[in-house]
Symmetry: C2
Subunit: 538 residues, 2 copies
């Protein structure tokens, strides 16, 4: 009886169920649009089974890692289901990494197989560097392989190994690892963040609720799928039976074409990406309501206003690789729609509160005590719950450090506002300490972004004999706009405390960003150090 009861009333949580269900409920509904290819949910489930079977036939065993190096194409979406369906662990690698970084991840994860898009084949390292990888599968034209690369197999040939015999859409234990996501870590070796089936399931449901997805969702893949498994959206959009629209490269003109052609209702991405889209020449009023879920940096009031003007609703979420992508959401309050746009945007620019499926997000001092909820006292943002990673793969020390005291330490600095909303001020390492006072580079950046001529900005601390450090800004101006250093510094001083205004502004044609939209401040710091050490002529 107990055995029957367990069978009847317990099922390990797994996103695999989402595809099983949508294939049953919406077999003929469009699941994936990828270039000229359309897949229904029946097709998606069939291709997933085929790939899972091909993985098994290729010697991939339970718990083995399978690496993918692909842009946002159907093959990578399929992998989010096929790899766990085969009982294996997906390692989706950042496509902008250098060959030696790809090699490191293959080695560290111990991946058995590497699936590479033909476009990225040159990024593939020589065979001898790939650790335990026994085979390289090429999506697209295998002839694109460069000399010296490992012998490889075409994706079609690989798939042909897979019979279509069904596999159970389930996992034995919901705490099993579903994927490893290597942090882009601006310093140090990347760490492999392990996600569980349970965490992925719950995080996907949280995003469905907070971004208000339904079976009518048409989701455009502007966010890289390799980034925190696309914030679990491959699983969430599939859960509701929505349509995925793939996109190889996020060019604003292509984005607008997709929005118009397919009636896109949802997209996710960093504010920098959304700014480029909102300011594209093709930008126009939306015919269908669009939800833009954004994270990675606070959306500026300007961006929020621009998106709202086009007819989009902004959902601001915040998180890290270690928490399955988004952990918090800046929940709208009933009185916000009545606020003046500027004030509303300021409220919405905060990182907010734990999602419905998450626990309370805290801001703590070094003794793990909550800082006062005064919007001023800075502390570290810590999190816990089912959407916190299982740990760093094969790195017990880093895991223990990250979980010290039973909370995940984000390394992000923030304040707690009186309304319980957290605002991120800076990465711990990015804060500028000037004359003993903390200056949040994010705050200075927001002040600069509110100037109409400023398109993009990054602030770092530079050494100062008198103050220890002083903020310096790197600015990209809007096309056709002009502003000089003095004007911008005055603008900042008119908005925030004078001592926080940068002493210097350097204009750049582009800011160095990671593939996920984060400014690489370490590059700006390196550049600055190089400039300072250069002997002054004369």
């Amino acid at each position: 009886m107990v055995a029957d009861a367990q069978l009847a009333n317990f099922q390990p949580l797994s996103p695999l169920r989402f595809l099983e269900r949508s294939a049953e409920v919406f077999p003929d509904k469009l699941a994936v649009i990828c270039g000229e290819r359309n897949l229904t949910y029946r097709d998606l489930a069939r291709e997933t089974t085929r790939v899972a079977r091909a993985l098994l036939a290729s010697g991939v065993g339970r718990g083995d890692r399978v690496a993918y190096l692909c842009p946002n194409v159907a093959e990578l979406l399929i992998a989010h289901f096929a790899v766990p369906l085969a009982g294996a662990v997906l390692v989706a690698i950042n496509v902008r990494l250098a060959p030696q970084e790809v090699a490191f991840i293959c080695q560290h994860s111990g991946a058995r197989l590497l699936v590479v898009d033909e476009e990225l084949l040159p990024a593939g390292a020589p065979a001898e560097d790939l650790g335990g990888v026994r085979e390289v599968i090429v999506v697209g034209d295998p002839a694109a392989a460069r000399d010296g690369a490992m012998p490889h197999t075409g994706y079609r040939e690989f798939c042909a190994r897979g019979r279509l015999e069904p596999l159970p859409w389930e996992v034995a234990d919901e705490f099993e690892t579903i994927s490893l996501n290597y942090t882009s870590g601006t310093t140090g070796a990347p760490k492999g963040v392990a996600y569980t089936h349970r965490g992925a399931y719950l995080n996907a449901l949280g995003e469905v609720i907070h971004s208000e997805h339904s079976s009518a969702s048409v989701y455009l893949w502007t966010l890289p799928m390799f980034h925190c498994n696309g914030w679990c959206t491959p699983w969430g959009v599939t859960a509701v039976g929505g349509t995925h629209v793939c996109l190889r490269a996020v060019r604003p003109d292509a984005v607008w074409r997709m929005i118009d052609e397919h009636g896109v209702t949802h997209m996710n991405g960093a504010p920098a990406v959304m700014t480029a889209i909102a300011r594209a020449p093709e930008a126009h009023s939306l015919e269908r309501p669009l939800v833009v879920t954004t994270a990675g940096a606070a959306p500026s009031p300007t961006l929020i206003a621009e998106l709202e003007r086009l007819g989009a609703r902004v959902v601001h979420v915040y998180g890290l690789t270690e928490v399955y992508g988004p952990y918090s959401v800046c929940e709208w309050q009933p009185d916000w729609p009545q606020l003046p746009p500027e004030e509303r945007a300021r409220k919405l620019a905060r990182q907010g509160v734990g999602m419905l499926i998450a626990e309370r997000m805290r801001v703590v001092d070094e003794q793990m005590q909550d800082v006062p909820a005064d919007g001023v006292t800075m502390g570290e943002i810590v999190m816990r719950g089912n959407d916190v990673m299982k740990g760093y793969f094969r790195d017990e020390d880093a895991t223990a450090n990250a979980f010290a005291g039973g909370w995940f330490h984000s390394g992000d600095l923030g304040v707690m506002h009186p309304d319980g909303y957290v605002e991120l001020l800076d990465r711990a390492k990015d804060i500028v300490i000037s004359g003993g006072e903390n200056i949040s580079t994010v705050e200075v950046e927001q002040a600069l972004l509110s100037h109409p001529a400023v398109a993009d900005v990054a602030v770092i601390g530079v050494p100062s004999e008198r103050w220890g450090e002083r903020p310096k800004a790197f600015v990209l101006l809007c096309e056709g706009a002009s502003a000089d250093e003095r004007e911008l510094i005055d603008h900042v001083r008119s908005r925030i405390a004078h001592f926080k205004a940068p002493d210097a502004i350097e204009f750049l044609p582009e800011l160095p960003r990671t593939s996920t939209g984060k400014v690489q401040k370490h590059e700006l710091r390196a550049r600055e150090r190089a400039a300072q050490s250069r002997p002054v002529a004369g």
Copy 2:
């Protein structure tokens, strides 16, 4: 380290978290409207803590049962959180039960405390019948107590025992029992269906997604909260920070007043209840979109059309007490909006497919093999997964029977359509077998309901010498409408197979229904038996 990791990345699923979060995120938002009383989420969390503390101070211990006999008032909503917050188990009793039935449930559940609304005090059994109940708490005026009832305490006095010292909004084990729901069982003693924290959490999220709840939800309590814990809606609406509008008695005029006054966006209930609302003299076009989630019987095409005309969207769900209320949902397909109303309504009247958080619903023969998906072959509807009950409280045999073969046996008969949608034909015991052919009383009822003069109907089998059984219909006509037996039988014959048409129709001024809207066919059968055994005069 392992201990830290467990703390950081695992939290037992519990609906308690939903109230904790909404009180933090939406402290000033309206949580409950109950008559003249308004509670914000801060108030709701505070009152919940107060009641939980009062329970503990009254000697309620971990796992003890606490019974409530209340209509849809704030106190019962609070109990859905306060009782589990105290570590106890909620037993919400059907307010229409007779005193001896209430006594049976108190005895069987071993409840320590009984909380009764003053209106229902007469239903309270004498003290000596209440088993282990040590104290009766009266909500409202304790002077309403009748002679002979147990000595009782006023709710206010009871609450005053509770300090406001916080309790942790969590449970140690997500498989702990959160509530017992006694089946209204048309025959035999009621059984206590045990729900877990995990099941309640997941079912609540499923309903949030399928009924599209958000923090803008204004939910009117037309469904009894004592019925399957109101389909887990106390937890779901609280999860998103929506507003609960309580309602002591579901009178159509009061419902329409609430809809207009509070801008109701969602309500749940049986089709009979929704029909009464849709046909009330107060019915009018809705100003705000309204989602009507209905279950308990298939909504008739007529009802669906009527609700759509008013501006409401119908979500049809199906389930039983044993599966936390709704288990399946009749998901809309992309092409349904284009179908002729009649055909669309027929599709929507089916019970559908497992919810997103459920497993696949099956229709099986006696060997547990799936019947052909032909829409014709009848079998038993079986279910499994996280939203299937833990079991029947203190009834291992019934639990073992219900879970035979690792699936929950609903006792409902249905067919599987080629599109994978299940259609309920009848309760196993309600089917009419005429000349060896099965006749679904639901099908005959639907045919009768499509006649404009028919307001309500119930079909049962009556003994027939020639055929074994023949269907007989009991009909309630619409106010002011008329139709005779012949006309209605002809109408049925024009729509379904002739042998399925009833041989006799009896007109009644009202149909006997359970408090949850189900027709009590056993009463009609008893009435029929009595009529048959009466000697015919002359």
